[in-house]
């Protein structure tokens, strides 16, 4: 009995240790965002300090952060929407007609380094006068979201028994009808998983936006990065910006925890 108790104490100590390692950067970021520059550069580093809101006032007041926030939301939402429209039928087709070649094709999209198509996009979008446009940014972010949507949804559709459509088709429905009216309404959990995950990946994307967006369409990761370009780093400001950019992704993750875990692990465990 005593030995069992001791081993479970050790177990919880180990788990607490791991939790601390995971959480610490977040906690430090959060606390630094409430520090003045003087408190941040203090040596030894301060754990207790008089909190200030000035960093957040600066970020949301002077920095036009709301605009970048809106840009990130527009680009992410449009890219995920487009990916669902393009990806759902494709994923269904992969799941029902076992299209191996198509699946490999999509896997290649996941494999390909983004920069190997970003460079030609830069050339083409410049010629078409599409630099700093929502169009270019949404198209590029769709290429991030689409493979995720197809990957997750083809796995999800495969778990729905084919008898669902087949019985409707025996009754005279077309397969298209069965897909829209029977399969999609059953796919809520899969669609939530795909939407959450692909939105977060678009939200966090740095490379595409760094090249394709300028002042008008600038997204949050670029705005955060630009904080570093000042001569002396405004640590408090950049930490407040970091908190602001991560908060939506973390809130989404908390709400849809179960779905996010599924999305990140399903392909690996089943395939």
């Amino acid at each position: 009995m005593n030995k069992k108790f001791a081993s479970s104490v050790i177990f919880y100590l180990v788990v607490a240790g791991m939790a601390l390692v995971v959480l610490f950067p977040f906690l430090w970021m959060l606390s630094s965002s409430f520090k003045t520059q003087v408190d941040i550069i203090a040596w030894p580093p301060k754990i207790f300090f008089a909190p200030t809101l000035q960093n957040y006032q600066k970020v949301f007041g002077e920095q036009d952060f709301l605009k970048y926030f809106l840009n990130s939301t527009i680009v992410g939402t449009a890219a995920v929407g487009l990916s669902l429209v393009l990806g759902l039928p494709a994923a269904y087709s992969i799941a029902r007609f076992t299209q191996k070649k198509l699946a490999v094709f999509i896997l290649l999209a996941r494999l390909m380094p983004g920069i190997s198509f970003l460079m030609p996009w830069y050339i083409v979008f410049s010629r078409l006068d599409l630099m700093d446009s929502y169009t270019a940014l949404i198209l590029s972010h769709t290429l991030i979201a689409l493979p995720i949507v197809i990957w997750i949804m083809s796995t999800y559709f495969a778990t729905i028994p084919p008898e669902m459509e087949e019985s409707a088709m025996v009754d005279g429905a077309t397969r298209q009808y069965a897909f829209w009216k029977i399969i999609l309404p059953l796919s809520g959990p899969g669609i939530i998983t795909a939407t959450t995950l692909s939105f977060i990946f678009s939200w966090n994307n740095f490379m595409f936006s760094q090249v394709l967006s300028m002042e008008k369409t600038k997204t949050l990761p670029i705005a955060v990065y630009n904080f570093l370009s000042y001569a002396e780093v405004d640590w408090g400001g950049v930490m407040a910006a970091a908190v602001a950019i991560m908060a939506p992704a973390i809130v989404l993750t908390m709400i849809f925890q179960k779905y996010v875990v599924k999305g990140l692990t399903m392909g690996a465990v089943k395939g």
Partner: protein, 292 residues
């Protein structure tokens, strides 16, 4: 017999068609164009059209010491990051693979680094690593060790970046392996226990071999992304100091969007793609072998 329309009969090709056209237009053609550009010499700022030069750009890039170091660095970064993440991730999964109070909270915590914006994470670690005000040196000095320069020194920059990658991505391996462990049958473990195997023997000879395909898949996913690591390196060091943390992806980015040498940049991108593709194929072979 149901009368079937043209669309209904060809659903198999019509359903995926929009997605295929999209990927062809935005990925396949651009990649082919990149491959074509790798055989040209083209500076975008010169105003001159691209000239076909055969393998000249390949020869110039592949003999450049800066490029060769970038290749070696990409492999070193990836190897250490994925190896450490693999060991820590599997170990953590084995520890957490039991019912306990707070397991769901533990899983939520594991998700946080995965959804955190890499650029922002890079900046937070820069604050840790700052030689004069950073927590990292405070910890070192408090334990009586000499302070380090972390990302500001050529010798320590790659290990410092690996540490950030390990912090952010180990949880992904943990979560995937945990999901794999949850799907394993219990009989082999029980049989081994009845035969008198110790806990360690069971893990080493029963559990790990059974979950090996899942571990290898997790490693493939990590490997693909680690080879392409961009955000944290670009945000934390920009490839510096000097070229000390310049990986292929960073070098390709600079050649494309800072020097505008598109021909040579295309060569770097082709090499990066071949590396990513080759490594993934290698591990997939290994995975197929482990399933037999």
């Amino acid at each position: 017999m149901i009368r079937s329309s043209f669309a209904e009969r060809n659903l198999q090709s019509l359903f995926p068609l929009p997605a295929v056209i999209f990927v062809a237009l935005l990925m396949v053609f651009p990649v082919l164009y990149t491959s074509y550009l790798s055989f040209t010499n083209w500076n975008l700022t010169s105003g001159m059209p691209a000239t076909f030069v055969g393998f000249d750009s390949y020869v110039r890039v592949l003999t450049e010491p800066r490029f060769l170091s970038a290749v070696a660095r990409t492999f070193a970064f990836t190897f250490f990051a994925v190896a450490i993440e693999g060991v820590l991730g599997v170990a953590t999964a084995l520890i957490l693979n039991r019912a306990f109070v707070g397991k769901s909270l533990a899983k939520l915590l594991l998700l946080l680094p995965l959804v955190a914006t890499p650029v922002a994470i890079g900046i937070v670690f820069n604050l840790f690593y700052d030689p004069t005000i950073g927590l990292a040196n405070f910890v070192l000095q408090s334990s009586g060790l000499p302070p380090g320069l972390w990302v500001s020194h050529a010798k320590s920059v790659i290990p410092s970046l690996v540490l950030v990658d390990v912090w952010q991505w180990t949880p992904m391996i943990t979560l995937i392996v945990l999901a794999g462990l949850a799907g394993l049958p219990e009989e082999p473990v029980e049989a081994a226990r009845i035969d008198g195997a110790s806990e360690w023997q069971i893990i080493r000879w029963v559990t790990i071999p059974m979950v090996m395909p899942v571990i290898l898949t997790a490693l493939i996913l990590r490997l693909i992304d680690a080879l392409k690591t961009f955000d944290i390196i670009y945000a934390m060091t920009g490839g510096g100091p000097g070229y000390a943390s310049e990986t292929l992806n960073i070098m390709g980015f600079k050649y494309s969007f800072e020097y505008f040498r598109m021909g040579q940049s295309a060569v770097i991108l082709v090499v990066l793609f071949v590396v990513v593709f080759g490594c993934s194929l290698g591990i997939m072979k290994l995975r197929t072998a482990s399933e037999v």
